[in-house]
């Protein structure tokens, strides 16, 4: 196998990569012609609705669906009994794994409801209103139990248990102790106690962060048709058609090949559109009725019952010498799993201290069940919570040392060869370069003046993912290429992939027609998640390009009756090196494929190992209105190592989007649960996401330290920009008003109360 060093081609004069062509799906999107799941309308289609639990924690004593079944227009009513039983087995979903037994009980509750909004019964009827009427006719008898809503409640002595037989697995061993804590894990590097002894300054703080939702604009939806021949087709909004196929097939006890998933255009995901919710229900309802069944969630259902990201409690302690060297770091991360076991403390622990080179580290992580929806990924899942803690502590340390935050970070920066506490040693990374550039930005050099204004900085790390990708492409007679790939396009990946293929082949971006295919039309491809698509599917299309190139060279050789070695291929032009007068463009040769042996197709499947981790640094200026507690973001900049920006506009868009979401997380967003465990703010009116009026134009600075594990140096950009903002905002607030906030969100009420307490 090629070493990683060899994978990066080191090209310096890119023709397509780094330019900003119009995206291939642009016209459909701006004219409203792009088809989303909610646009599907099939002949004879029924509409499905879900009856959800009004309680956060209750035993289901009985379900009576008879009146609903008898209601005119109702075609089928199903409960969990209609889903095949599952074994207690873990399935990899690409980003995050799922236990099939849990998945089954999440899509329709069995025995117990574990959160407000937990699905209990699904109905298919002739129209959506009839289906909704039928929900009112279903009688569910509950025995209401007390809920636990935070990791603190859930781990308190005598806390009600979500699962009576749940015990804690600690460091891989079952402790046998009944608890809502499903897992405790630990990462150790060096000797943390000895490390702290070397420290002159030690800062230890505790943090609480609220549960927040990704807030993708398009609600979950699924339409399914279970055909008479047993073939099932599902149209849906997902980050990964193949993971939906896998989950749906497993839940329905079907071979995967019997399920075809057609990914529609997707209105955002951010990690939240990986797990199935509606797909298996629509399929079963279709099986029972013999008709296609369409289900679309309301915004309230999305907030109540899809996976928000984990709220958390984090204790973070760091020690430095007077010379400014971080000598030890320790953290305890307790993350909400929601109603079923989850694993978001794990990625948090992989990121928390990774921007730094620290010899002695200990991290303890706990995954905790609470009566909230099962949590899901959200842009660098777990890392934002963790960085809020560690980067606030770092800020306090800088203050104690009187050190410039970038000088301090540079002094301690992780770089190639630094060992992470969770094991891996960093290959070439761009952490240091980000910090160096951040220090030199106009933003950081500018003076910030005025009352109650402050500046904060923070750094963040996300490891990114590789996983499986497939692509194929065919050469058309006019020299254009039809590219078929399996990565659903959330943030412009069609363009980024087409451009990589164009670069490899020496063609133009518009010469490639990219298309996201269904699961029967392309090889297996993992989710668009983990910032992996431009990296891994990019690898696949590059290999497709090499495959096509090799075949085209052979065809030219055949035409010229020379050996393939004598044909050169440069910038999409083929030349006979023995006779330079013999030259053909790619398009000219494409027109002659018929005479040289028939059509040309390229294909590739990859599972690239050379994943390049990503770093970003954020600088934020705020003004705090000390009489209202409102924090205004005056200026925000992000400096990020992306490896190589294929289409810089979409890279900048990702960076800005991540910062925008991070600021919302910092200042406003939170799930508010009433004391009985019901969600109080299940609407976008009451769940306060920022709008463009709440944000300045976010300045972006792209750093390009090539990833050695990719031909074009790509790392992946989507996730790491959300990691630093909450800490950067908190540090800026401190700089402005001298008050440290340890809880998210830092809403006006909280800031005002903190100010009143200070005075």
């Amino acid at each position: 196998m090629a070493t990683q060093e060899e994978d990066y081609l080191g090209i310096t004069d890119y023709k397509v990569i780094g330019t900003r062509p119009i995206r291939h799906d642009g016209v459909d999107k701006v004219t409203g012609r792009a088809k989303y799941g909610a646009d599907i309308d099939l002949a004879g289609m029924l509409h499905g609705k879900v009856l959800r639990s009004p309680h956060a924690h209750a035993r289901i004593k009985s379900i009576d669906i008879s009146k609903a079944e008898a209601h005119p227009g109702v075609r089928s009513v199903i409960t969990v009994k209609d889903l095949p039983l599952q074994e207690d087995q873990i399935k990899d979903l690409g980003e995050g794994a799922a236990n099939l037994m849990d998945l089954r009980c999440n899509v329709l509750a069995e025995g117990k409801v574990l959160y407000h909004g937990h699905a209990v019964v699904a109905v298919a009827a002739t129209d959506a209103n009839v289906a909704e009427e039928a929900l009112d006719l279903i009688d569910v008898e509950y025995e209401v139990l007390s809920p636990v809503l935070t990791v603190h409640d859930a781990t308190a002595e005598g806390a009600p248990l979500l699962f009576e037989n749940q015990t804690t697995k600690s460091l891989g061993e079952d402790t046998g102790k009944k608890s809502n804590v499903t897992t405790h894990f630990q990462h150790k590097l060096g000797d943390v106690e000895a490390g702290f002894e070397k420290a002159d300054i030690v800062v230890e703080r505790e943090f609480d962060t609220a549960t927040v939702h990704q807030g993708y604009i398009e609600p979950q939806n699924a339409t399914a048709l279970w055909n008479a021949d047993g073939q099932v087709t599902v149209w849906c909004s997902t980050q990964g058609a193949f993971t939906v196929r896998e989950q749906t097939a497993q839940l329905l006890d079907l071979p995967v090949s019997q399920v075809k998933v057609v990914p529609m255009e997707i209105g955002g995901g951010f990690g939240g559109k990986i797990r199935v919710y509606l797909e298996p229900l629509a399929a079963v309802l279709s099986k029972k009725t013999g008709r296609p069944v369409k289900m679309v969630m309301s915004r309230t259902e999305v907030l109540q019952a899809t996976g928000p990201t984990a709220g958390s409690y984090i204790k973070c302690k760091m020690g430095v010498t007077n010379e400014g060297k971080i000598v030890a770091a320790q953290a305890t991360l307790m993350y909400e799993s929601g109603g079923f076991p989850g694993n978001w403390a794990a990625p948090g622990s992989m990121c928390i201290f990774s921007p730094y080179n620290i010899a002695d580290v200990q991290i303890d992580g706990y995954e905790v069940l609470v009566n909230k929806p099962q949590t899901m990924a959200y842009r660098a899942p777990g890392a934002t919570n963790a960085a809020f803690a560690s980067e606030t502590v770092i800020d306090e340390i800088c203050e104690a040392l009187g050190a410039d935050p970038f000088e301090f970070r540079l002094q301690n920066t992780s770089k190639e060869g630094t060992r992470r506490a969770d094991g891996p040693t960093f290959p070439r990374i761009g952490n240091e370069e980000c910090l160096q550039l951040a220090r030199e930005t106009d933003h950081y050099k500018s003076k910030l003046e005025g009352k109650a204004r402050g500046r904060g900085v923070a750094s963040g790390f996300w490891f990114n993912a590789g996983l499986k990708s497939s692509a194929s492409a065919s050469v058309n007679a006019d020299g254009k290429i039809s590219l078929v790939e399996g990565s659903t396009d959330i943030g412009g990946s069609r363009a980024a992939l087409a451009m990589q293929l164009a670069e490899t082949l020496g063609l133009k971006s518009e010469d490639i027609k990219p298309q996201v295919a269904d699961t029967d039309s392309v090889g297996e491809t993992d989710v668009t998640g983990g910032s992996r698509t431009t990296f891994a599917t990019g690898w696949a299309v590059h290999k497709v390009g090499l495959d096509i190139k090799a075949q085209m060279i052979e065809r030219a050789a055949k035409l010229w009756e020379v050996a393939a070695e004598e044909v050169s291929y440069v910038d999409g032009v083929l030349t006979n090196s023995a006779d330079a007068s013999k030259q053909m463009t790619f398009a000219e040769l494409a027109g002659k494929l018929g005479e040289t042996g028939g059509p040309v197709m390229g294909r590739a499947t990859v599972q690239p190992p050379g994943v390049g981790g990503a770093f970003s640094t954020v600088i934020v200026d705020v003004e705090v209105d000390t009489e209202t507690g409102k924090v205004e973001i005056l200026r925000a900049s992000i400096i990020q190592d992306v490896g190589k920006a294929i289409h810089p506009s979409y890279v900048e868009g990702q960076m800005q989007g991540g910062v925008a979401q991070g600021i919302g997380w910092a200042l406003n967003e939170e799930y508010v649960y009433r004391e009985d465990g019901t969600l109080a703010n299940g609407s976008l009116l009451d769940y306060r996401m920022p709008t463009c009026l709440d944000l300045p134009m976010i300045e972006t600075h792209i750093v390009e330290v090539p990833n050695p594990g990719h031909p074009y140096g790509v790392r992946g950009v989507g996730e790491v920009p959300i990691v630093p903002p909450p800490a950067a905002v908190a540090n800026a607030i401190y700089d402005a008003i001298g008050v440290r906030l340890f809880d998210l969100p830092m809403s006006p009420g909280r800031v005002l109360e903190a100010l009143l307490k200070k005075d």
């Binding site: 009004p54 309230t300 200042l667 709008t691």
Partner: protein, 322 residues
């Protein structure tokens, strides 16, 4: 949402009849439908009939020497883009402009803005049969009450969500209501009810009546007005605290001042500002006045910050006009 009948009367005289139904059958008025649709979709109400009043010719703004008359279905955007309103009745224009988002202001009406229902999380939650919905308990008292009232609360602690209401009260508006017995006109200041007066409705409008017109008398020359709203987000948000202020200063001395708070009490909260009349308006005096207004505030567990916030709104609102 349940099935309902949708009627579209073109004659105002028919409306009370359409709204009066036999027992157990409920009719509701629909204008812009912004708040109504939310109530329907959240299953807060399940009316049998919607009476659309948009065909009634109530969308107008008529200026005269006496003042301005605005039909009930005039949209908030209409108000914002009327130059005379912006100039003479500034608080109303600013209040209208502070509502939600442009799309909503293009559809939402002034009548609907006055008659919208509260945003209390328990009231809006289908699962909670709270006092206001005929139950036995106000869940906000021991519950999530960050956004609730700090004044005038009890037994229910909602805040009135209307932005235009405080402005209209500060500008001495009157509101015309049409019912089975014809028309009646009430001052905007008497239009709203506290929970202790009526737990189940926030205004004096009965279920078989409809708001038809709002009139604001022309303010005395030299009067300036403003509406200051504090919200967590730049758009699509309700007031955490707001102040509508109308002020007339002559020769450096305050001749007349009206201060009405929004977002802090179950109805727009009219402050007694007489102490400022006859005085030179200084920051010190305004702060002292704000302290008096909030002196009897009774915050709940999570909303003490609103007391400070309200004082800030009063101070900034008044001083902005000096």
């Amino acid at each position: 949402m349940n099935a309902f009948e949708y009627v579209n009367p073109s004659n105002l005289q028919d409306v009370p009849q359409l709204l009066s139904q036999k027992r157990d059958r409920k009719s509701v008025v629909m204008a812009g439908g912004i708040d109504l649709l939310g109530e329907l979709k959240d299953n807060l109400i399940t009316p049998d009939r919607l009476v659309n009043i948009k065909a009634l010719d109530l969308r107008y703004i008529r200026h005269s020497k006496e003042g301005v008359r605005m039909g009930a279905t005039t949209t908030l955007s209409d108000l914002v883009s009327d130059e005379e309103i912006v100039k003479t009745y500034t608080a109303l224009a600013e209040a209208a402009e502070s509502v939600a988002s442009l799309q909503i202001r293009n559809v939402g009406t002034i009548g609907g803005n006055l008659c919208q229902r509260p945003r209390c999380w328990y009231f809006r939650g289908e699962e909670f049969h709270c006092l206001k919905k005929g139950g036995h308990k106000c869940f906000a008292v021991d519950g999530e009450n960050k956004y609730h009232a700090v004044m005038g609360g009890g037994p229910c602690h909602i805040v009135h969500p209307s932005d235009t209401a405080p402005a209209l009260i500060a500008l001495h508006a009157t509101i015309k209501i049409h019912g089975p017995n014809g028309e009646r006109t009430v001052p905007a200041a008497d239009f709203f009810l506290l929970p202790m007066e009526n737990l189940y409705q926030e205004t004096v409008v009965h279920s078989n009546e409809v708001v038809t017109e709002i009139f604001i008398p022309k303010p005395k020359a030299g009067t300036k007005s403003t509406y200051l709203k504090f919200k967590e987000k730049g758009s699509m948000d309700f007031a955490l605290a707001a102040a509508a202020v109308a002020l007339r200063v002559e020769g450096g001395v305050c001749k007349d001042v009206q201060v009405v708070l929004g977002g802090v009490a179950p109805k727009p909260w009219q402050a007694d500002a007489s102490a400022l009349v006859g005085q030179v308006v200084t920051e010190e005096r305004v702060v002292a006045f704000a302290n008096t207004v909030l002196k009897d505030a009774a915050p709940l567990r999570d909303n003490a910050f609103k007391v400070t916030l309200s004082k800030t709104m009063i101070k900034r609102g008044v001083l902005a006009l000096v």
